[in-house]
């Protein structure tokens, strides 16, 4: 009986993965509303749970693909693999209009570029400080500090190792969670009390879940302004990190 169940999971691994991730999301949003009173965004908790499960999977099997190395969960590898991931990321661009960028004004655009480059520099410099010398590794970790989406996409594009990709996701996650927690506290000091600074904040920080949750905790009226610029950030990061920024890193190392 158990054997046939296992075989079923193995045979329909992608469908099984949808069910497993659905459960994980449910648990994450439950924790978000009941244990953190919505202070920590459900998506951030879900990603932490995912990373924790990957840790468990890696410990149990000694493999490189986290939970996907356990036969029951091989579908996670396909669901979270490059193909579907890129399709979903591209789909998030739907609804973005170029007029929105113009509304944010030149300062918003400046913030977008500065945000991607400064975050990339922060991640890259720390990577160099920790002794990474391979341009691919430095770029991937730098891109991870941009967002936890830009990191793995850049890493996959450049052929970085799974460890470095996991590091870049972790860096992006640290950033996203920190923003959720720190934004309400920092708001007064950085003048985050009007639509314009909210748009600049969204462009500087980018990570959409972090910005949306952080602004919601500061002043809910600012959320759409920050989220508007933040939506462009990942796209810009994905466009810049594996291209211009990688070439720049390669020129130095």
């Amino acid at each position: 009986m158990l054997q046939s169940l296992l075989e079923l999971f193995d045979k329909y691994h992608l469908v099984a993965a949808f069910a497993v991730i659905g459960l994980t999301m449910y648990a994450a949003y439950w924790i978000s509303t009941h244990l953190t009173r919505g202070k920590l965004h459900g998506s951030a908790i879900a990603i932490i749970l995912g990373l924790a499960l990957a840790y468990v999977g890696g410990k149990l099997t000694g493999g490189n693909d986290g939970l996907a190395d356990i036969t029951l969960f091989t579908g996670l590898g396909l669901m979270g693999g490059g193909m579907l991931r890129d399709l979903a990321i591209i789909a998030t661009a739907y609804g973005v209009r170029f007029e929105e960028i113009r509304e944010a004004g030149m300062r918003g655009v400046t913030a977008l570029f500065a945000g991607v480059v400064v975050s990339f520099l922060a991640g890259g410099l720390v990577a160099v400080g920790f002794g990474y010398t391979d341009p691919v590794d430095i770029t991937t970790i730098g891109a991870g500090a941009v967002t936890y989406i830009v990191g793995p996409v850049t890493g996959a594009t450049l052929g970085a190792s799974s460890e470095v990709i996991a590091l870049s996701i972790a860096a992006g996650l640290v950033k996203s969670i920190l923003i959720m927690v720190v934004t309400p506290m920092a708001a007064r000091f950085i003048g985050l009390d009007n639509p314009r600074s909210a748009m600049i904040f969204g462009g500087m920080i980018g990570t959409t879940s972090g910005v949306a949750a952080g602004l919601a905790a500061t002043d809910a009226r600012l959320v759409p302004y920050g989220a508007m610029t933040a939506t462009f950030y990942t796209g810009l990061g994905i466009l810049l990190a594996p291209t211009v920024l990688f070439i720049a890193v390669r020129a130095i190392f």
């Binding site: 400046t110 500065a114 594009t157 291209t243």
Partner: protein, 139 residues
């Protein structure tokens, strides 16, 4: 039909990846250069073009929106299939990199914002806020 939306999305992705691949070849890098970002731009342009011509019915949009909504779950699946055990050995890199990005990013907000118009927040026109909210909610 829903498949039209999915097909449009897939078409943008393939075209973007092809362009990214060609860019890589041209620059002598064995990698796809920004294919995903280019695909995003293609999707923005093509859906914008179709929408202004009224050729983007709700069913087509839902084919795109489904994958839009699957973005976080797929990212969670991706996180669950990473080599976290190996990453733990260098976990401080992630912590410091992420934290430094936050500190620098926040510090630059007032620099780029310049002198913020005081007391602007209460003057957000209600209509505009609502307009933006619906736009975000639809995403």
């Amino acid at each position: 039909m829903v498949i039209y939306g999915v097909a449009l999305l897939a078409g943008c992705m393939m075209l973007g990846l092809i362009i990214g691949d060609m860019l890589g070849h041209m620059l002598g890098i064995d990698a796809n250069l920004g294919g995903v970002g280019i695909a995003m731009l293609l999707l923005i342009f093509s859906t914008g073009y179709l929408k202004t011509r009224g050729k983007l019915p709700e069913a087509t949009v839902s084919g795109i929106n489904f994958w839009n909504a699957m973005y976080i779950p797929i990212v969670v699946a991706m996180a669950a299939s990473q080599n976290v055990v190996a990453a733990f050995s260098g976990g401080l890199v992630a912590l410091l990199g992420g934290a430094l990005a936050v500190v620098l990013g926040l510090a630059l907000v007032p620099v780029i914002a310049g002198k913020a118009p005081r007391a602007a927040a209460p003057n957000i026109p209600a209509a505009r806020t609502e307009h933006l909210s619906t736009r975000i909610a639809n995403r």
